[in-house]
Amino acid sequence: MSATVVDDLPDTRPSVWQAVWKFCRRQPLGTFGLVLVIIIAIAGATAELIAPYNPTANDFAAMTEAPSWEHWLGTDQFGRDMLSRIVFGARTALIVGLTSAAVGGFAGLVVGVSSAYFGGMIDLIIQRLSDIVMAFPLIIMALAVVSIFGPGVHNVIIAITIPLIPRCSRVVRASALTVRSMPYIDAARACGFGATRIILRHMAPNVVAPFLIMVTSFVGQAILAEASLSYLGLGVQEPVPAWGLMLQGGAEEYASTAPWIAIFPGLAIMLAVLGINLFGDALRDALDPKLRER
């Protein structure tokens, strides 16, 4: 009988599509950001299919060619097709951005929630360690780490991930301190659950809103940090196509005679980070009831 009554109740929860539509209607700038992110993600994922040329193939007969029907965004000083390099560069940017943000964010989540949960001496030590790491500007910390491990995509990811951990843990800890004082955490403790279970199953999911916003901004920061490291010659190495690397050397040398070499990779970085930030801002507004009307 009761089952029938439950079945008769109308389902008032909006479907995923309804939620997406509501988001798009209320957050036009965020939707624009999401569209940019989707385009870049598709470009990165299907680079082999959509790139018109091999991104690493030199063509010395077509060096520094201006944008044309053959090469939509022109060619660089080695005759490599700029569009193909930018499309493949999207993959590098996304791999570095997403991996650094996900790993740094998750590690920061665990450290931040643990710090709030245990409190006392553990909290004090974790916070002081965070202070130390956070006193280093991201690029300086990344430079030091990349010098230890050497350049290359994997090492760049490590170099960018490490400084992101304390930044995330600080924000997460602040939210987790509020969650810790909730009765359901006492209830979980009373049920005899272990610290790991309480931290991962009961506390972490309840600090997801600030965490998600933080991680979204991390993706943008990681893409910018990777580009900066590659530009300094300490990040991704040739011949891997990466946006920052494309701006190193040739871009400055040929800036006045072949400006497209400098313009398009920078535009790609800007649009990717712009898209991620616009989406992140809209996500924050959508998740925070206080900001919804702003």
Binding site: L29, R128, L129, D131, I132, V133, A135, F136, P137, L138, I139, I140, L143, A144, V145, S147, I148, G150, G220, L224, A227, S228, Y231, L232, G244, L247, A251, E252, A255, S256, P259, A262, I263, P265, G266, I269, M270, L271, A272, V273, L274, N277, L278, D281, R294
Partner: protein, 323 residues
């Protein structure tokens, strides 16, 4: 108040010591040997005795703990040792390049404040209008634009514009001349890098100003001021802005310290011989003493700005008392 300052200064000691330990360990973890680079360019043949002599000369043959204690003792006496690469005192190397970086950082901050506070306030006051949308896009563009790309683009623009206007392309000078000796030459060197680092700085501060102003403009005392019949200009300037500036000042302080990080890339773009460029060179050359001193300089600036920002709170918000 003085007790609070003393307590805060004491609290910075563990952070500074920790940072010193971290940079000391990081530098020793970097593979390679500065003496090998000095003697044979990394790959050539060299006399093993010369290598031993070189290690003894720069002091890396001693136990790590001795090196660390010496490093800390030197820091306490403001003696940073000599550069392992050039052989000159580290303080001389840094002081020679500090004016240029400091000038760009301060000019960048001026650019940021000059853009952020008026635009952030207008954006909040004209919320959800086209002005707000334009300012928000301008702000978010600043966060998304890589500073080195903005640098390249600004140089390109200046080159093209000067060539179009005068027939000969003009490049900003790269060598530092103090502002009191030749203000025009000095500013023409520093203004583009300052705008490049200042744009991002302005963007972050602009967003914070907007958000803080939106919050403050909904407060009861603003409603009271309106009910009293005060004109909008007075409400914004005297009541809203002063209260909204509190989080903006915090952010300006934190971002100033990170500006030093931003200089690393910007100085590379503009070919300027500043502290940021010196840092990249020091890391690449594995110059332990120089890198350690530069990192500690950054950390001290970070810790010191945080302290100044905290103390500024009391001045900006009389409700805050330091105990």
């Amino acid at each position: 108040m003085y007790q609070y300052i003393a307590k805060r200064v004491l609290l910075t000691i563990p952070t500074l010591l920790g940072a010193a330990a971290l940079v000391f360990i990081l530098m020793r973890l970097i593979p390679g040997d500065i003496c090998l680079v000095r003697l044979g360019g990394g790959g050539g043949s060299f006399d093993p005795k010369a290598l031993v002599a070189c290690h003894a000369e720069i002091g890396v043959d001693r136990p790590y703990i001795v090196q660390f204690v010496e490093f800390i003792w030197g820091l306490m006496r403001f003696d940073f040792g000599t550069s392992m690469w050039s052989g000159k005192p580290v303080s001389t190397e840094i002081l020679a390049r500090l004016p240029i970086s400091l000038e760009i950082a301060l000019l960048g901050t001026a650019v940021a404040i000059g853009i952020a506070i008026p635009l952030g306030t207008i954006s909040a006051l004209k919320q959800n209008t086209w002005i707000d949308v334009v300012v928000r896009i301008f702000a978010i563009g600043g966060i998304a634009t890589p500073s080195f790309w903005l640098g390249i683009m600004s140089v390109l623009m200046v080159l093209d514009l000067s060539a179009w206007m005068t027939g000969t392309p003009w490049m900003p000078p790269i060598d530092y001349v103090p502002i009191w000796k030749d203000p025009i030459r000095n500013l023409s060197m520093a203004i583009l890098p300052a705008i490049t680092v200042g744009y991002r700085y302005a963007a972050v501060s602009m967003r914070m100003t907007r958000s803080a102003m939106l919050e403050v403009m909904r407060e009861d005392y603003i409603r009271t001021a309106r009910a009293k019949g005060l004109i909008n200009k007075l409400i914004v300037n005297r009541h809203a802005l002063k209260n909204a500036l509190l989080p903006v000042v915090t952010l300006l302080g934190i971002e100033f310290a990170f500006l030093i990080g931003g200089l690393v890339v910007t100085e590379q773009v503009f070919n300027l011989n500043g502290v940021g460029r010196l840092f990249v060179l020091a890391v690449q050359n594995q110059d332990y003493t120089l890198t350690q001193a530069l990192v500690m300089l950054t950390v001290v600036i970070f810790v010191f700005t945080n302290l100044v920002v905290d103390l500024l709170y009391g001045w900006l918000d009389p409700r805050i008392h330091f105990a």
